[in-house]
């Protein structure tokens, strides 16, 4: 079932549809947040918060853009805001997950999640190299890091990135070039 149908069902009060959307995008949202805000504990809270924000604001989503673009924007903004605050944002602790849709959501994970298999390159990269690259990405200024992650991790095109970050396409282009240039300097050892 495509996103538009799920969103429509959710708008009509179908929490199961929301569960499907969560299941479908949980890995991507979590991955995005992790790249933007590498603290694992915060990342999960932020990723959860992104879905909750989407739930709250679903009435504002008018379907003129892709749902996942809209969702990514929420997540990116949350992560960037969190980072700007120095990680001071505290979310409430969970008080038990209850049994709400639990089994169902888990069962649907494999069927619906848009999981991307790791590329051969990814399989080849050593853990040390990966850590070095991750650190280099984490050291980027947030505006450069966000563009880089959305492009090279999420493989969004420039217009989608511009939409998510609410900046002109030209800005995306220049920031991305700048981000890669900085990475090139910082990863000189790996690049030979």
């Amino acid at each position: 079932m495509d996103d538009a149908a799920l969103v429509e069902r959710f708008r009509k009060g179908d929490m199961q549809a929301f569960g499907l959307l969560v299941t479908k995008y949980q890995d991507r949202i979590y991955n995005l947040v992790m790249r933007l805000c590498p603290q694992a504990a915060d990342a999960e809270e932020l990723a959860q918060e992104a879905f909750l924000k989407a739930m709250e604001r679903i009435a504002q989503f008018r379907g003129q853009s892709q749902f996942y673009t809209w969702l990514f924007r929420i997540a990116a903004n949350l992560a960037i805001s969190h980072r700007r605050r120095g990680g001071r944002l505290k979310f409430q602790s969970l008080t038990g997950s209850d049994d709400f849709e639990n089994t169902q959501a888990e069962a649907l994970t494999a069927a619906l999640a848009e999981k991307r298999c790791p590329s051969p390159v990814a399989a080849a990269i050593s853990s040390e190299s990966a850590a070095q690259v991750e650190q280099a990405v984490a050291d980027l200024d947030e505006e450069f890091r966000a563009v880089l992650v959305l492009r090279d991790v999420e493989e969004m095109d420039y217009s989608q990135i511009a939409e998510v970050l609410d900046v002109p396409v030209g800005t995306v282009k220049s920031r991305l070039h700048r981000a890669r240039t900085v990475l090139r300097q910082n990863l000189g050892d790996l690049l030979g």
Binding site: F18, G19, V22, Y30, Q60, L94, T95, A105
Partner: protein
């Protein structure tokens, strides 16, 4: 910028295929002619490859379930509804407006058709002819909340809160509560300590968040304040006093209401739509006539009450006090089905570090009362500075019949509200999806009789007879007469009587003078008739269009005689312990619309909303 610099900046975009054909041709030409550009391009390609090779992070195990649990919780707490279409929202708003309008009319009738005379006139009149004092504000709040609970579930909070406040503060254009008769609600928000029970009102104008930790700290010390137990406070009036598990037989007394709150205390008389919606949703989940049959017993789950507390032990004791007042006795810390439920006068408490689940088997006569008190409990907790609702319910205790009457009169407005709710519900046709006939005339009259009984004797409910716990379960300590073990009975009784005296004094002050005799039953029935007429005239939708949140007696289910396979009614109370943020959310549900707006704007300023992308 030179051509070369320009080309350099285009290299990333060329790699990504984001250039126009013309730009791409220009870049390709430049790269072919310039070895330096070729090196740059290769370096950028390598960087991109490395970043793309980073392993993807998968969401932790159970992530989706946790999101859904939080979504449920957020939804129940009344955060902006994600599941209501705009059209339905408008319908809800319109319905809410109609209901509020009619509620205002009803309140006007309740308040001013039995308008109290001045205090000096009250003192001069014979007791039997004294008119009713105006009901405490809590009853008005409850009335509006009950209407909310019944008919409104999705209206935006600010408009509802405003409407609710308007209905409360100035029904039919009359002035709001006078300073001489401060509302009980204010006292509920700022309970005065008795002994060393502490719960101070929030500082005037002080930031709520700053007060929160203090309140929590106080809540945490409340356990040590040495309260009297519900057994004591129930006294001779009730068999089946509770003996809370895991508390060494100690159970809490309801905080005694203090004098009225200072005038500067924040007014949070708005109804709690979030809480109403919460319990309505839980009812929808649970009151679907699910019947489980285990061990020969049948039970029908009526509803689930979700309570949040800053202190699990304290919250549990408050709930147990409510159950004890209604003649329910704890029999086990494990859930049972089977013959033991034949008592229908039992409850079970299952506790883990973060929550308590209390399963109460109720008779039809108990359901409405218990449910109402639990709702009131949550409402009181949720208010800034609020603590258990025993203050407003003003029930309990071993005392003289006269004292009980005085307390009953003080609580009459609450009972009147419940009676009105019952009467309204009685006037509805049976929900379409529930295949059952409407209550026959005999049952309807029993409903009215029950309502009258509540009005006249709210605090002196007789014990459930013939419903003893099953042998083998820890029954209440009959030898102690409901008193706490290890404490001198005489001392406990004296404490209870002192507490009750203070309660009565406070309530009298809040009622603007000496306590008044009970309103004649005919007057209550007339009010109920008027309310029904108003409701019918306004064509207000059924309070529960699908299934009732409160199971009215005689409506569908019959409790079979003890000893046979029983069909009992179940309410599950699930208590969650909240951290500071959870408590803040609950309090936010009662915050004035202006504060909500301010908070929303602050959040909006911090986090860019995705509107802009949509507008593009």
């Amino acid at each position: 910028m030179s051509d070369r610099d320009d080309i350099l900046e285009q290299l990333s975009a060329w790699l990504d295929g984001e250039l126009s054909d013309e730009q791409a041709r220009r870049v390709e030409q430049a790269v072919r002619d310039d070895p330096h550009l070729q090196g740059e391009l290769e370096a950028l390609r390598s960087v991109r490859r490395l970043v793309r090779a980073l392993p993807g992070r998968k969401a932790p195990e159970g992530f989706a379930a946790r999101v859904l649990a939080r979504a449920e919780r957020a939804h129940l707490l009344g955060q902006p509804s994600a599941m209501v279409s705009r059209s339905f929202r408008w319908i809800s708003l319109a319905t809410a407006a109609v209901v509020l309008l009619s509620a205002g009319v009803v309140l006007y009738m309740i308040l001013y058709m039995v308008k109290p005379p001045p205090v000096h006139e009250m003192a001069a009149r014979p007791a039997t002819n004294k008119p009713e004092p105006p009901p405490p504000a809590v009853s008005l709040d409850s009335t509006v909340r009950d209407h909310d609970n019944a008919t409104r579930s999705d209206s935006p909070k600010p408009s509802r809160a405003k409407a609710g406040e308007k209905a409360i503060a100035s029904p039919a254009g009359r002035p709001a509560a006078k300073p001489a008769a401060p509302p009980v609600v204010a006292a509920a928000r700022s309970p005065k300590p008795v002994g060393d029970v502490v719960a101070e009102p929030p500082a005037p104008g002080g930031p709520e968040q700053m007060k929160e930790s203090e309140e929590l700290a106080k809540a945490g010390t409340r356990d040590e304040s040495g309260r009297t137990s519900p057994e004591v406070r129930r006294g001779a009036g009730g068999a089946g006093a509770a003996k809370p598990l895991g508390t060494g037989g100690r159970s809490p007394a309801a905080p005694v209401p203090g004098p009225s709150a200072p005038a500067t205390a924040p007014r949070t008389t708005a109804p709690l739509p979030a809480l109403a919606m919460k319990n309505k949703k839980l009812d929808a989940e649970w009151s679907d006539r699910r019947v489980s049959e285990k061990g020969g017993a049948r039970e029908t789950r009526l509803g689930r009450v979700l309570l949040h507390t800053a202190d699990l032990s304290d919250g549990r004791r408050s709930v147990e006090a409510v159950l004890a007042r209604n003649g329910l006795t704890v029999v086990s810390d494990k859930y049972h089905t089977g013959n033991d439920s034949a008592g229908a006068n039992v409850y079970y408490a299952i506790q883990d570090p973060k929550q308590v689940e209390i399963v109460a088997h109720l008779t039809p006569q108990q359901v409405s009362q218990v449910r109402g008190e639990l709702d009131a409990l949550q409402v009181a907790w949720a208010r800034p500075g609020g603590r258990p609702a025993e203050q407003t319910l003003a029930v309990a205790g071993a005392a003289s019949p006269a004292d009980d009457q005085a307390l009953a009169r003080a609580s009459r407005s609450l009972a009147t509200t419940r009676m009105a709710k019952m009467m309204i519900a009685q006037g509805q046709t049976a929900p379409a999806e529930v295949d059952r006939p409407g209550p026959p005339a005999a049952e309807a009259s029993s409903v009215e009789g029950m309502a009258r009984g509540r009005v006249a004797g709210l605090t002196t409910r007789p014990a459930q007879k013939g419903l003893a716990p099953k042998a083998g379960f820890p029954a209440k300590d009959a030898s102690s007469g409901g008193l706490m073990p290890g404490i001198e009975p005489a001392a406990q009784t004296a404490q209870v009587q002192a507490d009750r005296k203070q309660q009565i004094d406070v309530l009298e002050r809040q009622n603007g003078g000496a306590t008044q005799p009970a309103q004649p039953e005919s007057s209550h029935m007339a009010q109920a008739d008027q309310m029904r007429q108003v409701q019918q005239a306004a064509q207000i939708p059924a309070p529960y269009t699908t299934r009732p949140a409160v199971q009215l007696p005689g409506e569908t289910l019959q409790v079979q005689p003890a000893g046979s396979a029983l069909q009992s009614l179940v309410i599950t109370v699930r208590l969650y312990e909240e951290g500071p943020r959870g408590l803040a959310e609950l309090k936010a549900a009662t915050t004035a619309p202006a504060a909500l707006d301010a908070r929303g704007k602050a959040e909006a300023a911090q986090e860019a909303v995705p509107d802009a992308a949509e507008k593009k």
